[in-house]
Amino acid sequence: MGNEITRRQALTAAASCIGLTRCSLSGGRPVVPRVSIVRAGYTQAIYDTVRRLLVEHRVDVRGKRVVIKPNLVEFDPGTTINTHPMLVHAAFEGFRALGAAEVRIAEGPGHRRVTLDLADAAGYFATIPHFEDHFTDLNLDDVSRVTLSHPFSRLNSVYFPNTALSAELIVSLPKMKTHHWVGATLSMKNFFGLVPGGIYGWPKNVLHWAGINESIADLHTTFPRHFAIVDGVVGMEGNGPIQGNPKPVGVLVAGRDMTAVDATCCRIMRINPAMVQYLNLAAGRGRLEEQNIQQIGEPVKSVQTAFELSELFRNIRL
């Protein structure tokens, strides 16, 4: 019953747009992932900053369907919990300027089902003209079942929104935050929002029973055509991802390889990426090491600031 897509089919489709994949090859050797760190604020300049990032990473989206996935979690008039609307708008305009056939903003919040009301309260309607016309609530989108061939988690198959499955590039736009279950929530954990609440509920507790870290790794391999821009202008420390405190860092972190982007964010937050379980699962320790990531822009040391960690995660301090 219904549509079913195997991981093989998803990967075949991914290979058809090799320019967008996270791991391109040069002379048979894997290319070292490049990660940019740029200083930014929530000002008009963020539009130029994002455009420069996309050019710097040679993101070719001409004629392609792009889905921008922010992190929209809670009613929050400030800038601490949700991805800032100016960054979402800057990415939206940036990909349109690069010639994408379609750019959609899409999110499936994990706790609250009143997605559009959340987006309104977060300033998305006020900042992004005709926001509702460009937005898909992934919790209530039509779905297809995807079989996971070699899952890290206990899941054998997952229903995913067709908007996400048909995207030729998914752009993860998370907030730089600590997380009470996994240590840090960045571009990879942000993909929890691709799992539809309309099928699995609010919260998407099936993923917790299947193993949170393992599920994050599964989502990462299921959606290989991705790009990440992490909102670290103001992050969250302490009891994240909802009840923590604002942590101004003043940066955006971007790249095609989400494990490399998240590992870099961890270093900025003074978290040891090798101690973050889902990063290890998805990348393996070697690929997380600093010398295996080509850093562009600001050096990590110049923006590094220790995020307060909950008791449970004191041992992941770098």
Binding site: D120, H180, W202
Partner: protein, 285 residues
């Protein structure tokens, strides 16, 4: 969006989508059919809707959220809110049977046995049976609240002691999950030692399901719901608060800002909440 506009958006297959132009889903279809029962709806539209639901019931007696999903879930409780004489007596009885077989994974026999063997005591909130959104996951406030309402309706025509017992357990489950601020969130009042805040939509749903619990036992919850209503920023959430507070005879002070109905579901819920204010709470009939 008024009822005629909602009826106009009925899909060719007889169901309703969450939003205009989408495919039919179980939850909005049930809510529109309920809305049609409190206002003079369209008999033909109603029958087409019921037929879609009857046709999409799964072999095991439950409903999936939408036809492309091959798994019965919590929306079965929503479907079981419809009158058996309209949905079909067998359909309804099978739905109730399916609900009775479900429980949160944390109170399942296998999980309890595993914990006993490991010497692990049940955690807070793991003592009472509730309902999960999706089989194999933990129980939460929303699916438990709707299961209570559906089972209570079923009990009105035929009393079964096992059903009574589940309802009573589920009420304890809900009372156990009250947040420090008095309301309910998705179902965790405390996360890793830190109090979690309540949400208006789940507070309204829980109060609705606890309509038979004495007001004295719900003082803080009712006060929290009234506070949440004043600050509410969502039409859907406001409707649940209205339905929940009205179930306890409390009139709601509407928020200052105008709340926009953004979907078919929002609009259907608003019709149901307004009807409750006029004295007809369809969830409690």
């Amino acid at each position: 969006m008024d009822l005629p506009s909602i009826i106009h958006l009925q899909n060719h297959d007889g169901g309703w989508p969450y939003r205009k132009g989408g495919r039919s889903w179980t939850e909005p279809t049930v809510l529109v059919l309920l809305a049609q029962s409190v206002q003079s709806g369209d008999a033909q539209s109603r029958e087409r809707g019921m037929a879609w639901l009857r046709g999409s019931q799964r072999q095991d007696g439950g409903w999936s959220p939408c036809p492309s999903v091959a798994q019965s879930t919590w929306v079965t409780a929503m479907a079981a809110l419809l009158p058996p004489e309209q949905l079909g007596y067998t359909c309804h009885a099978n739905a109730i049977q399916w609900l009775m077989e479900q429980t949160g994974e944390e109170t399942s026999l296998a999980y309890r046995l595993r914990n006993r063997l490991l010497g692990v005591s049940p955690g807070p909130g793991e003592t009472h049976d509730g309902w999960p959104f999706f089989p194999g996951a933990a129980a939460w406030v929303t699916p438990t609240a709707f299961a209570v309402l559906a089972l209570e309706k079923a009990q009105r025509s035929q009393r079964v002691s096992a059903v009574d017992q589940r309802i009573s357990e589920a009420r304890e489950f809900l009372l156990d999950r009250i947040c420090t601020d008095g309301g309910w969130n998705y179902g965790r009042s405390n996360v890793l030692g830190v109090d979690a805040p309540s949400y208006p939509e789940t507070t309204g749903q829980a109060l609705l399901a606890l309509h038979q619990v004495p007001v004295a036992k719900l003082d803080r919850a009712l006060a929290a719901a009234q506070n949440e209503a004043r600050a509410c920023r969502s039409s859907e959430a406001m409707s649940w608060l209205q339905l929940g507070l009205e179930a306890h005879g409390i009139e709601v002070t509407p928020p200052e800002r105008k709340l926009e109905c953004r979907s078919i579901m929002d609009s259907a819920l608003k019709i149901l909440a307004d009807a409750a204010l006029q004295g007809r709470n369809v969830f409690l009939e």
